[in-house]
């Protein structure tokens, strides 16, 4: 066995340039694979960071249809609900850069800070925010993107709520948990509500509630929905995690496409590996003939080929994964978390991806060696010796 590996390794070193190119090509494929898998896992793990003791209530059939504001008072009275807050999706844009996306939400500020207690805001900034009707707080990531600091004035352009909305940046928040996106902008619900025509006032988009026992989440959610079932507008209440997960349905085809593409890259990798192995066998046909002539059985020849493929696969796997870490986690990951936090709040390689990448590199290398190994196995001694490489 040791000899096999040694011979395989020796054979690989005979053509250093080719081996280097092959390992490089296969490693690039591994990096691409890791990157795609990380995109997929980043989206699904975003749901795992959801707070377990928080539930969300929305209109039963639509995100864009509002509920009466008094629903929140009724939810606060439900046993098991510690506190509740309400919000509307504002859909604002930066007038200077309308194509840049960041979440803008108008909340009932005092209750919001209570329900989302993983949001960290300096006490003086918190006071300033609560005191100023036009006050807004933004995540530190968004602050960097927009180049804003505490005390700045920022005009938000409304789309659902038309017009220009001047805001005072009264605070910059961070978060103790990943359940809060650090690239959002929050401001006062009352600011928006008071400027609407009377018949559009006191309407809210969703309600977030903190509950005393995460285990009772389903029961409390059911109690809330039942309470509004007889009302004019029905609701759906679910855990924050379920709500986050359910958004995945909207991009499910995109996820499927990325899945398919991550498999295609594996085929490309197999082609590169198979190409190199086939080339090696072809060039060494005469040697194999000599080995056979001095008494090696056909199976040994085939094992040389398989062993060579396995070594290439393992080396490619190690190099690919070693390069993936700095590229995906430190490079791309940082970049995405900073600039597209709304999409990828947490872009890290899942340990399972490492295992999968390594396993696939080996398996694919072995698969790619099947045909060349078979050819080597079937080699006729006389043909091999006659042939010119």
């Amino acid at each position: 066995m040791m000899n096999f590996i040694r011979i395989s390794a020796r054979n690989l070193l005979r053509n250093k340039l080719r081996t280097t190119l092959t390992v490089l090509g296969a490693s690039v494929a591994i990096i691409a694979f890791v990157m795609l898998r990380t995109v997929l896992s980043a989206w699904s793990t975003a749901a795992d960071f959801a707070a377990k003791d928080r539930i969300a209530t929305r209109h039963k059939v639509s995100f864009v249809i509002t509920m009466p504001k008094n629903y929140v008072d009724q939810i606060r009275a439900v046993p098991g609900v510690k506190s509740a807050t309400y919000a509307i999706w504002f859909g604002g844009k930066n007038p200077k850069k309308p194509e840049q996306f960041f979440a803008t939400m108008a909340f009932d500020a005092p209750s919001m800070l209570e329900v989302f207690d993983e949001l960290v805001l300096a006490p003086d900034q918190q006071q300033a925010f609560l005191a100023d009707k036009q006050g807004a707080i933004i995540g530190d990531v968004l602050a960097r993107q927009l180049g804003l600091k505490v005390g700045d004035r920022f005009t938000l352009q409304g789309s659902i709520y038309p017009g220009d909305w001047p805001l005072n940046i009264t605070g910059i928040y961070t978060a103790t948990k990943k359940s809060i996106d650090r690239s959002s902008m929050f401001f006062h619900y009352s600011y928006v509500n008071d400027s609407l025509p009377p018949d559009r006032q006191d309407q809210i988009g969703w309600i977030a509630s903190r509950i005393d026992d995460p285990g009772r989440g389903p029961a409390i959610s059911a109690a809330i929905d039942q309470m509004f079932d007889v009302k004019d507008i029905q609701t759906t209440t679910m855990s924050e995690r379920a709500m986050n997960l359910s958004f995945m349905g909207m991009i499910s085809s995109l996820l499927k496409a990325l899945d398919v593409i991550s498999i295609i890259i594996l085929f490309i990798m197999m082609m590169i590996l198979g190409n190199t192995i086939a080339m090696g066998v072809r060039e060494r046909t005469r040697e194999y003939g000599v080995l056979r002539a001095i008494g090696f059985p056909p199976a040994s020849i085939a094992w040389f080929v398989v062993g060579e493929a396995a070594v290439t696969g393992i080396v490619s796997g190690i190099v690919g994964l070693a390069l993936s870490f700095p590229i995906v986690e430190l490079g791309l990951g940082r970049l995405l978390e900073e600039n597209m936090g709304a999409w990828f709040p947490y872009f890290r390689i899942d340990p399972k991806t490492y295992v999968m990448g390594m396993g696939l590199a080996l398996v694919l290398a072995l698969a790619a060696s099947i045909v060349p190994a078979r050819n080597a196995f079937r080699l006729q001694v006389t043909d091999a010796l006659r042939r010119l490489a």
Partner: protein, 386 residues
């Protein structure tokens, strides 16, 4: 110049490795072409919804129909605006309410947004391209709806003969399926406007007004509506509106897809380099002979580059052809601008094919460059001695 048949034969002699390198290139081009087709499909699907002589009126600042709110009184002011043509065949205009509702997606976890358009009797006449292909027209003022061909069967309840709830005790029944030449309208549910407005408490409002106005009269109409501050409305050509609706999603897909394809192309280029390096190494004597016969360094360089390009064009051609098969697949995702699920196809066109072939050629050129230089540098005397 070294004849091309020399290169073709060389590729043929080394069938397995040529095929492996070409197949790797084919896969990359396949991904690249598919992405271009998808991005193209989004633009075309939304573009088909636009009529050249229609304008859309929205609340100022709104970027999509679902964001816009227009009071009924203003609707009449717009439709009776004197700058509109007095005699048109068919309705002068139509105001509709659009909402998105959450429905369970069939064949995927979770739910997604489906657009529901509250229509008036004139809505069909305003868009003559729409044809009912299954079932029948909905009855006016009833709880009957018709659905687009593309969305049919994609969500629970969105199938001919089935029902779904707009709200409690307010279920609507699908009585027909319509087609509109593959436009984004085919991804909508069309229900009676009053059914929609009462179910969602939108009485007295609509989302958008469409009017029939020829391109030459458009500017006058736009000026007339937008100069009226009281209305607080914005006018745009339907084509411009739908183009904007497709912008975000198609850009997102293009950028993501191009990045993936570029990354993949590194692998495929290395594959081509490996193949060409082996070709050069094995043909040292031949190359030496060619040089001795009087072929210049440049013609050797050119010959090997050409061989690499032929390889990549074969691979690219296979990839591009295979990607055409994606035309049969439809793709459904939420369009960022309208927040509703839109079904589109991978749509090929000349630009996609030409773009893919250029991409393949560049990969061949880059991948074959170093081996070709190496070939050109071969010293004829040493090579023939070896």
């Amino acid at each position: 110049m070294v004849p091309i048949s020399y290169n073709l034969r060389n590729l043929k002699v080394r069938k397995t490795t040529s095929a492996a390198a070409a197949f790797g290139l084919a896969l990359v081009v396949f991904v690249f072409a598919s992405v271009l087709m998808l991005s193209n499909g989004i633009k075309k699907t939304l573009g088909r919804s636009a009529s050249p002589d229609a304008a859309l009126v929205l609340r100022k600042g709104a970027t999509a129909e679902i964001e816009s709110v227009i009071e009924d009184a203003n609707v009449n002011l717009v439709l009776n605006d004197t700058s509109l043509p007095q005699s048109v065949s068919g309705p002068r205009g139509v105001s509709e309410s659009v909402v998105v509702i959450l429905l369970d997606k069939i064949g995927a976890d979770g739910f997604s947004n489906a657009a529901v358009r509250g229509i008036r009797p004139d809505s069909f006449a305003f868009r003559p391209s729409i044809k009912i292909v299954e079932g029948r027209m909905p009855q006016e003022g009833s709880d009957e709806v018709v659905i687009g061909r593309a969305i049919s069967g994609r969500f629970k309840g969105l199938t001919l003969g089935e029902s779904f709830e707009l709200k409690k005790n307010r279920s609507v029944k699908v009585v027909g399926v319509f087609e509109d030449g593959g436009s984004s309208n085919e991804s909508e549910v069309w229900a009676d406007i009053d059914t929609v407005r009462t179910a969602f408490k939108r009485e007295g409002y609509t989302s958008a007004i469409r009017v029939r106005v020829s391109p030459s009269q458009f500017d006058t109409f736009k000026a007339s509506i937008e100069s009226n501050r009281q209305l607080n409305l914005a006018v745009m050509k339907e084509a411009v509106y739908y183009e904007k609706q497709s912008e975000g999603t198609s850009l997102f897909i293009s950028i993501m897809g191009t990045m993936i394809a570029l990354f993949f192309s590194i692998g495929a280029m290395l594959g081509a380099t490996i193949t060409m390096h082996a070709a050069v190494a094995n043909r040292q004597r031949e190359i030496g002979t060619l040089r001795a016969l009087g072929f210049s360094k440049a013609s050797i360089l050119f010959s090997f580059l050409l061989e690499s390009i032929i390889l990549s064009i074969i691979g690219g051609g296979i990839g591009a052809l295979a990607s055409l098969a994606m035309g049969l697949v439809s793709f459904s995702m939420v369009n960022f601008a309208s927040w509703s699920e839109i079904v589109f196809r991978f749509e090929p066109d000349g630009g996609v094919i030409v773009g893919s072939m250029i991409f393949a050629t560049v990969m061949g050129l880059v991948g074959g460059f170093l081996p070709a230089i190496r070939a050109a540098r071969i010293n004829p005397i040493e090579a023939m001695r070896a």
